[in-house]
Symmetry: none
Subunit: 538 residues, 2 copies
């Protein structure tokens, strides 16, 4: 095993092949800067010439300085009918002016004859002379042996010949690609060992890399085991985005190398940035964070069962494989009917509330909680509602406004158009009444708009609050349209803080209303704690 | 390696520990039937006594016959202060009356002293005598060695002693649990080999199982490699749901055993059901399908890049690790409408509709479908809506009524009471107008009641129709309360038939309205086909 592993990120190239993963040029540049700041060694920016976005990206990047990372341009071997110096693809790679170039070639005989439709010998020639042409013109030159493992299984000698020619052409590292993602770890390692023996028999020292896909859900294991078998470079993407089921997930590989195998990589020393880096990429791609994602998911260090909770508090190692802070994540104790007093005390501490185990109020909080949970309330994703509930029990909650009435109406007079929706709200702040109305995209949206209209003149900071997520769940389907529903709302504000609230009712409007009102109360409470509410209102 | 592997599913127990995974008793029963039909060997139904849902589940299951699967009840070793025959936990396991019982015990010394707070010797005693007590009273008895791998790393001798005592107590299989999910494959296999050597030195043949968690994104690889190392049982969950980052994903393990390792398991012979099984569980838990999920994700066999597409069309092996039909999934070519057609023909045949591949209407149905899907409609759980869509395209759909207008209003004048909800509907059947109003438990319920009131005088059979399930999913959370929602309604009638319909809008009332109207139209269409509609109405 090598002691320092090269991390080669292809989020901006292979990652963008993921379905629904679409980013703009500006986003590509932002991601590139983030990957650099995180300490990635090579950033593959795209295939210049293959699409305008990639070409333009490399032009823009020529004016920028990266702190640590080296940019790589990706492309294929030359076309069989072009000499290297006249091949548009190879020339586009040089025009990208990157410190590194990676080209891929065919290792699997059926791809040569069925996809490229050239002879097996022609393929070997284009591999070698494409690399030889680039070798004198770029600083770092890597070869991606596409489909290497499937090729090896189909025709061992040909697959080995293809990488021999890449070595002869001058590639400084041969990256073995598990392109279709179906090879399981033991077989993968066995093939790597055979490749190493093959080079050893020639008396050559050849640096190897691994590029794995996740079609058998083994991409992370395959990458780690390839490193343990001697690979020096890991190619992958942040959050594992990529064609079909994705590429090897660097988000899981980097911490495993650093925290579990004692191997160093440059990004390994900035592991605390991992959480933020993965979020940024999801935000830019406008894709949801995977709550269950290893290391960086919201659930990755969340504890639900009562036994787990009390054990984790005594010794976090008991139910956590690493310290969540190492990767910028944090421990979460979920509130659920399985948890008891230990959970509540921990929450109280986090909320900055004085509460002792023997406090008589404890019993009343536990009873409140059980009662709400029986009705269908759940506080796992609604910690703000839970904090409000605790403050109310402790007599610490103040009323920022009094609701007098609301109404919502939805009218459809033409079957081909969406209905018209209107909401009205009447409320008082101190002695002043506000009575407002608003139209919306639906009943909940109209109510939301009318409520903010009514409150913003008293509490201008509500303008900075946004509802970022809205979820509805039917609790018991058996009563058809009369079933109870639970609404979860996630809000955020200008401070970057975000909080969740919950409402439950048979009536989706009423349930949404509860979650909405909790969300606003929570925002006002936090603003007040920080002295940010205007004196007249408070 | 064993030739036939036992698959032990814990979706209903460990799976429900996943954050946001909440299912009702009825859902648990549905999932259990589906797992049985898929060919799972053991279904762990819950921890009887630990929560009312699990206890009730086992009571309900006592009246049901499973085709293949054996039900397992899960619980802990006895409490240190109880004799086995008076231990509430062990008695609850017996009261569940399942053919199999699994109990877990501590293998890791710090868990014994810090979590259980008993002596190391006491722990060994409760393991052995809990099992010995159960051994005479249940058909199959398994032992889950919790935290076995971490325990082994911390105190090898104690971890081995704990499973020795489980064997002495009469467990027929020792399942080694990688509870914290942080052990990487090579180390895991090394430990399994050491366990095997330990038993071999004693001259014992002990059946081993593996229970892995995904905190290092290696649960599938760990499970597969454990089997290759000799484990006979794999514990896991459908779609990998479970505490924190989840359990080992059976959805990826079963096809790997069957298609890649030549190992048999009973579910392996029903692999074509895999896709449907995974969907059903997501639908019941109201969780989104992971598009990138190996084997069963919508993107798993989707081809985007131009090179890939043409190669895949010539020879699917070039970019697919298995034939998607083996697992009930299908190839999708993202840039053409090729993929939809086969599906549509299959559906037409099922609906009894005449449709040929070369029919010019085919293109218009494909276009309709793509358009609806882009808007967020999904027909997997709403086949009735899809049949209506096809019949409309084929000119086979007749209007049973014309909707003129509806209105819904929701008014709240006292903050301590639920709002009052009223709906009105105006529609015509032939030349006759009906204009009705109804109060309801919420806007959708009121609308449902008003609509039936209006139609029942024309179509009395609607009285026999019931709405049995109602689900709401927010499609894109980013717009807060203005997000699009999808409503799924499941209806049934006196014939025992049930059908699903779908609606999509930013407005939850409009989306519910669409699904409701489709549901009623479907019922009337079926009644008419069977000559059950009154002549005056038809």
């Amino acid at each position: 095993m090598a002691e320092s592993i090269i991390i080669y990120d292809t989020t901006l190239r292979d990652g963008t092949q993921a379905e629904n993963f679409n980013i703009s040029l500006e986003d590509k540049i932002k991601i590139c800067r983030e990957l650099d700041s995180f300490g990635i060694d090579y950033i593959e920016g795209g295939w210049p010439g293959a699409n305008p976005l990639s070409t333009e990206f490399f032009v823009r990047m020529q004016d920028m300085t990266l702190r640590h990372a080296k940019l790589a341009a990706f492309g294929s071997t030359r076309h069989v009918s072009n000499p290297p110096e006249k091949d548009a693809n190879l020339l586009a790679l040089l025009a990208a002016k990157t410190p590194a170039v990676t080209i891929f070639g065919k290792s699997w005989d059926i791809h040569v004859t069925e996809a490229l439709r050239i002879t097996l010998e022609q393929n070997l020639e284009i591999i070698q002379d494409s690399l030889a042409f680039l070798r004198q013109r770029v600083e770092h030159l890597f070869y991606d042996a596409e489909h290497f493992f499937d090729g090896f299984k189909a025709n061992r000698d040909y697959a080995l010949a293809s990488i021999d020619r890449a070595v002869q052409g001058g590639a400084e590292l041969i990256c073995l690609c598990e392109t279709n993602g179906g090879t399981l770890p033991n077989e993968l390692v066995d093939i790597i060992h055979q490749v190493q023996r093959h080079f050893a028999e020639q008396g050559r020292q050849v640096a190897l890399g691994i590029h794995a896909h996740n079609d058998a859900e083994c991409a992370v294991a395959n990458s780690i085991m390839a490193v343990q078998a001697g690979a020096l470079m890991v190619q992958g993407t942040i959050n594992g985005y990529g064609e079909r089921c994705g590429n090897a997930n660097l988000t899981s590989i980097i911490p495993a190398l650093e925290l579990k195998l004692g191997l160093h990589c440059n990004a390994g020393s900035r592991l605390h940035q991992l959480y933020v880096t993965t979020r940024l990429i999801n935000e830019l791609a406008n894709l949801p964070h995977n709550r269950y994602q290893p290391y960086v998911g919201d659930s990755a260090f969340a504890h639900k069962g009562g036994i787990h909770v009390s054990a984790v508090q005594r010794n976090p190692l008991t139910y956590e494989h690493i310290d969540p802070e190492r990767v910028g994540n944090e421990r979460r104790i979920l509130i659920s009917d399985q948890s008891g007093r230990a959970n509540i005390l921990l929450k109280a501490e986090r909320f900055g509330l004085q509460l002792q185990p023997e406090d008589p109020l404890m019993a009343s909080i536990v009873a409140d909680l059980k009662n709400m949970e029986t009705q269908g309330y759940q506080y796992e994703a609604a910690e703000a509602s839970f904090e409000l509930l605790m403050r109310r029990a402790l007599g610490l909650r103040r009323k920022f406004f009094n609701l007098e009435a609301f109404s919502v109406s939805d009218r459809k007079y033409s079957m081909n158009k969406e209905p018209l929706t209107e909401a009205t709200i009447r409320l008082t702040v101190g002695d002043t009444e506000a009575h407002t109305a608003a139209m919306g995209d639906g009943p909940v949206n109209a109510m939301d708009l009318a409520l903010r209209k009514a409150l913003t003149r008293f509490y201008p900071s509500l303008q900075n609050m946004k509802l970022v997520d809205y979820k509805v769940r039917v609790l018991n389907g058996q009563n058809g349209t009369g079933a109870r529903v639970r609404v979860l709302i996630e809000s955020s504000d200008e401070t970057g803080r975000s909080w969740g609230t919950v409402g439950v009712s048979c009536n989706v409007i009423e349930a949404s209303w509860q979650a909405l009102v909790d969300s606003i109360n929570f925002k006002l409470m936090k603003d007040e704690q920080q002295g940010m509410l205007p004196r007249s209102a408070a």
